[in-house]
């Protein structure tokens, strides 16, 4: 199973879509709510150099935004 992390905020619609997409395809993932998890936020900024959500890490590869094509490609969906 790939290691998938989603850095998100609860209000961000694209984060919700990204998580729904992963759930639909039965891909387990770790959700990090950067609105309440300060360490998680710093980790996201350090790893990705981004200040926008969602940031999705798939086996260490960074995907910025809900880019369905890239996610599907990385996960072989």
């Amino acid at each position: 199973m790939p290691n998938v992390k989603v850095y998100s905020t609860p209000t961000c619609p694209y984060c919700i879509r990204a998580k729904d997409y992963l759930k639909e395809h039965n891909i387990p993932f770790e959700n990090i709510d950067v609105s309440s998890d300060e360490n998680g936020l710093q980790e996201m900024i350090k790893t990705s150099g981004q200040m926008g959500v969602p940031v999705i890490l798939i086996d260490g590869d960074i995907i910025v935004g809900f880019d369905q094509g890239k996610i599907a490609e990385k996960l072989g969906l």
């Binding site: 961000c12 619609p13 879509r17 609105s35 200040m51 926008g52 959500v53």
Partner: protein
């Protein structure tokens, strides 16, 4: 070759898909995303049948409704070009492939207008955001600016004034637009500073944004901050259609049957010159466009 290609899957495109399925028009939907701008709407309280629903929940409902009809849907397809080919048919090209249809409905909606200031492309997602609802919480206890003066800018300020330590509202106009009820709340809030007649010239930073340069009454002023939310309206996604008549704003001109100047090419929703940009209006226009297409196909 299908009878109809629908470009876009916001309220107009999805409604078009549903109507096409019910009219047994062989169709295909091509879209970059699902929901269009609706997904970014916070609370929707004016879509008939729902006293209250969030934008993303409404999009889910739209999607479920469309799925009932098994309309062929290709997501993650940004249309690059629509051209007229032989026998009055159309070729619709995306990065992934090329599709042919007897008719097309362009329902590609709108996207955020860019600021056009120096540094904007460098610091996108590095302090510049076009969605306060999405990225607002990342700027907790920080100093931010909202650029704009209409309802969407006021809405961003109303969200950010509870999250950020200080919010500058940078408006190029002499007085704020938008609804009075929103303006009153903002003016009465201590951590919001409003700059009128202020043009954003540059966004400065290193790895991330650290300041904004604003021109006010001929003087340049640098304000230290960490986040900039751009809320200066939107532009239609109409660049990819060849030969279609548009107004000065780039919106596709349609008649009351959603026809453009090109026979067989229809348009619906916020990409058109219909002045009311509302979810329910866009949905209605999508329905109208399919009924127009149905008439067109039976006559040609």
């Amino acid at each position: 070759m299908v009878d109809l290609i629908v470009v876009g899957a916001g309220p107009a495109g999805i409604t078009a898909g549903i109507y096409a399925a019910r009219k047994k028009v062989d169709s295909l939907i091509l879209s970059k995303d699902v929901g269009g701008q609706t997904i970014l709407s916070g609370d929707v309280e004016n879509y008939t049948g729902y006293q209250f629903i969030t934008g993303s929940e409404l999009v889910k409902k739209f999607e479920e409704h469309l799925k009932q009809f098994n309309v062929p849907f290709k997501g993650d397809q940004e249309v690059k070009r629509i051209t007229k080919i032989e026998k009055g048919n159309f070729s619709v090209e995306t990065a992934q492939g090329s599709y042919e249809g007897r008719s097309v409905i362009v329902a590609s909606g709108r996207r955020s207008r860019l600021l056009g200031a120096k540094g904007e492309d460098i610091f996108r997602n590095k302090g510049i955001s076009y969605c306060a609802t999405c990225d607002g919480p990342l700027f907790a206890k920080k100093t931010v600016a909202v650029v704009g003066g209409g309802n969407s800018a006021l809405d961003a300020v109303l969200q950010m004034m509870h999250i950020a330590e200080k919010v500058y509202l940078i408006d190029i106009n002499p007085t704020l637009g938008g609804d009075q009820i929103m303006r009153e709340k903002i003016v009465a809030t201590a951590n919001v500073e409003i700059l009128n007649n202020a043009a954003t010239k540059e966004i400065i930073g290193d790895q991330f944004v650290r300041a904004i340069k604003v021109e006010q009454a001929g003087a340049l002023k640098e304000i230290a901050l960490q986040g900039v939310f751009v809320e200066i309206g939107s532009v239609p996604n109409s660049d990819f259609v060849n030969g279609v008549k548009k107004n000065k704003a780039g919106e596709i001109i349609v008649d009351h049957l959603n026809r453009t100047n090109i026979p067989g090419l229809f348009a619906a929703g916020d990409v058109t010159d219909i002045p009311e940009k509302q979810i329910i209006v866009a949905a209605g226009e999508g329905a109208k466009a399919v009924l127009g297409v149905f008439r067109y196909l039976s006559q040609n």
